[in-house]
Amino acid sequence: MAVGQARGQGRGLRIYAVLYLAFLYAPIVLLPVFAFNDSTIIAFPLSGFTTQWFVELADVPALHSAVLTSLKIAVVTALISTLLGICAARAATRYRFPAKGGIMGVIMLPLVLPEIIVAVSLLVVFLQIGLELSSLTVILGHVLICTPFCIAILNGSFQSLDVSLEEAAVDLGESGWGAFRLVILPLVMPGIIASLLIAFTISMDEFIIAFFLSGSDPTLPVYLWGQLRFPQRLPVVMALGTILVVASVLIIILAEWFRRRGVAKRGGSDSGGFL
């Protein structure tokens, strides 16, 4: 009877959940639908199946250079923000220092700051100090917004570590660095990989900061936005969008897989994460 009651109560929630998911994902599902549609007009009814738009993608040099720029920026951003994240997460979980809460709060602030504000302020600062807009300025902006995500992920990894583990390694004869390399690093490695992948993904599809700071080398999202001005190019953009969605989903799944493997490896129980 208890089960029957639970079912009755669950119906409203279930309908809500389905609607919620539809609202969230239906637009994304439309992307591949029109990417394979044999028409330059984005409207129903569909007129036929084609892979023409994907073929056209292959010979647009400007697109290829945008992809390369984005990849370069995303890789460097992922490396820098993960390294900063490791330092911050270790400091936050291992050491006590004055105004720790405030400092951590300020570091995490870009997570909730409107990106447009960050982008405009950075633009003003870079112009003031005479830094020319380039991939470097985009990287600086992306590190700023990616680092909080990296810290959030890595904090979890570092927090679940027993402090005695490091002391035990030192007690058994290792130096501080040896203990970190042989014990701490392997145990947080899944978190580090997850952090790299998340930062890479965020940087890869970030638009606002890249739009303001990329100068003459557009990133992929900036290039895509430029293409939207030409209606006949829209299906090609849809095709590209489809590839990006699939790639993003794969990377996020990979990141989560690494994080869970890390939890299982330590024999711990799962306590959240991004997925």
């Binding site: 005695s164 002391e167 035990a168 390694a169 030192v170 007690d171 058994l172 004869g173 290792e174 014990v183």
Partner: protein, 365 residues
């Protein structure tokens, strides 16, 4: 016996908190030594200072004649078994045990032999290939022991190693640790808050309160001759009866409120006997109930059972003695054919004056 470990005037502050107060301590080669005290008494800080994880603010630590000042934990001849065991979860059992051997420059065969030997010694032979995180609590502790002992330290430090185990496992490990210590002959320093555990396992015990050492003695010495009321109350149970020490014609006499006077011997007090107010300590087993038909004892009192706790082999009675302010605790072995009294029953109590321990000063607490 020259001391393997010597602490002189060791002091440690955490901010304004005085964690170690002027600790003087000598521990001999091959001794099983316990640091016993309630939580927050400084026993773990003292252990960590010996291990090299806490630097002293004053005083010195010598191990085997060498001053340990400025010697980091990784270069001290000590190894530690942590309260959480700190088994490296990403390594196998054998890799855990081999961790400290890596820097010794042994060839693979010798290293594997020593790891195997250490695991054999703690009863985990054949467990080498197991993943460390799949072990039970007792097994993790054995791995922690093997990992430390395989390095053949001069001193093994154990930080509450049994507190995470269930009762049965704990009792089993107490015996095993004791046997292991005798077998390897290494000095063990055990930190525990469990007085029973300390009594069972140790050669000598240091009782610590509030950062200072209250008494160092053998388990028997601590139990029979506690140096202060605090130690007496902390080690086992003790009844405190108010009264006076008086000097009589044949030496000193204890005048106990409600129980009359009995002669005292010098060894019944940690300090030289002197006339004045005192509390008289008496262990629950030094008092006994007399049942109907049992002969009169030399020192006898009457009272009423105020409370009772039945333990199977023993019964602990709270008895309100006539004319005595505080009820006394009496432990009785439950013998066949002997009744178990109920709350409210009248009781005859015999007590042994030779078991009195004198603590000078007023009050019974």
């Amino acid at each position: 016996m020259s001391a393997l470990i010597a602490l002189n005037g060791a002091q440690k502050y955490f901010g304004a908190y005085h964690a170690l107060r002027d600790i003087d301590l000598e521990i001999g080669q091959g001794e099983f030594f316990s640091l016993l005290g309630p939580s927050g008494c400084g026993k773990t800080t003292l252990l960590r200072a010996i291990a090299g994880f806490e630097a002293l603010d004053a005083g010195s630590i010598h191990i085997d004649g060498h001053d340990m000042a400025g010697v980091p934990a990784n270069r001290r001849p000590t190894n530690m078994v942590f309260q959480s065991y700190a088994i490296f979860p990403h390594l196998s059992v054998a890799e855990n045990v081999a961790f400290g051997l890596r820097k010794r420059g042994l060839d693979a065969k010798t290293q594997a032999e020593r790891v195997g030997g250490a695991l054999e010694m703690v009863g985990l032979g054949g467990y080498g290939a197991r993943a460390a995180h799949a072990l039970s609590g007792g097994q993790r502790q054995r791995v922690a022991l093997a990992r430390a002992l395989v390095l053949e330290p001069k001193v093994l430090l154990l930080d509450e190693p049994l507190s995470a185990l269930d009762r049965k496992m704990r009792e089993q490990m107490q015996g095993e640790l004791r046997r292991l210590q005798r077998h390897v002959g290494i000095t063990f320093i055990l930190v525990t808050h469990d007085q029973e555990e300390a009594l069972i396992m140790s050669d000598r015990i240091a009782v610590m309160f509030e950062g200072g050492i209250a008494q160092i003695d053998s388990p028997e010495g601590l139990y029979r001759r506690p140096a202060s009321r605090e130690v007496g109350a902390f080690i086992g149970q003790m009844n405190f009866l108010a009264g006076q020490v008086r000097s009589g014609t044949d030496g000193f006499v204890a005048q106990i409120h409600g129980l009359g006077h009995v002669p005292l011997a010098a060894e019944q007090s940690a300090e030289p006997l002197a006339a004045g107010a005192a509390a008289f300590g008496m262990r629950p087993e030094s008092l006994s109930l007399l049942f109907d038909g049992q002969a009169q004892a030399a020192s006898e009192a009457t009272g009423r059972i105020a409370d009772r706790a039945y333990y199977g082999d023993m019964t602990y009675y709270e008895v309100a003695l006539d004319g005595v302010a505080e009820p006394v605790t009496i432990s009785m072995k439950n013998m066949v054919g002997q009744p178990v009294l109920s709350v409210g029953d009248a009781a005859r109590v015999a007590w042994d004056p030779r078991a009195l321990i004198v603590f000078p000063g007023p009050g019974t607490a």
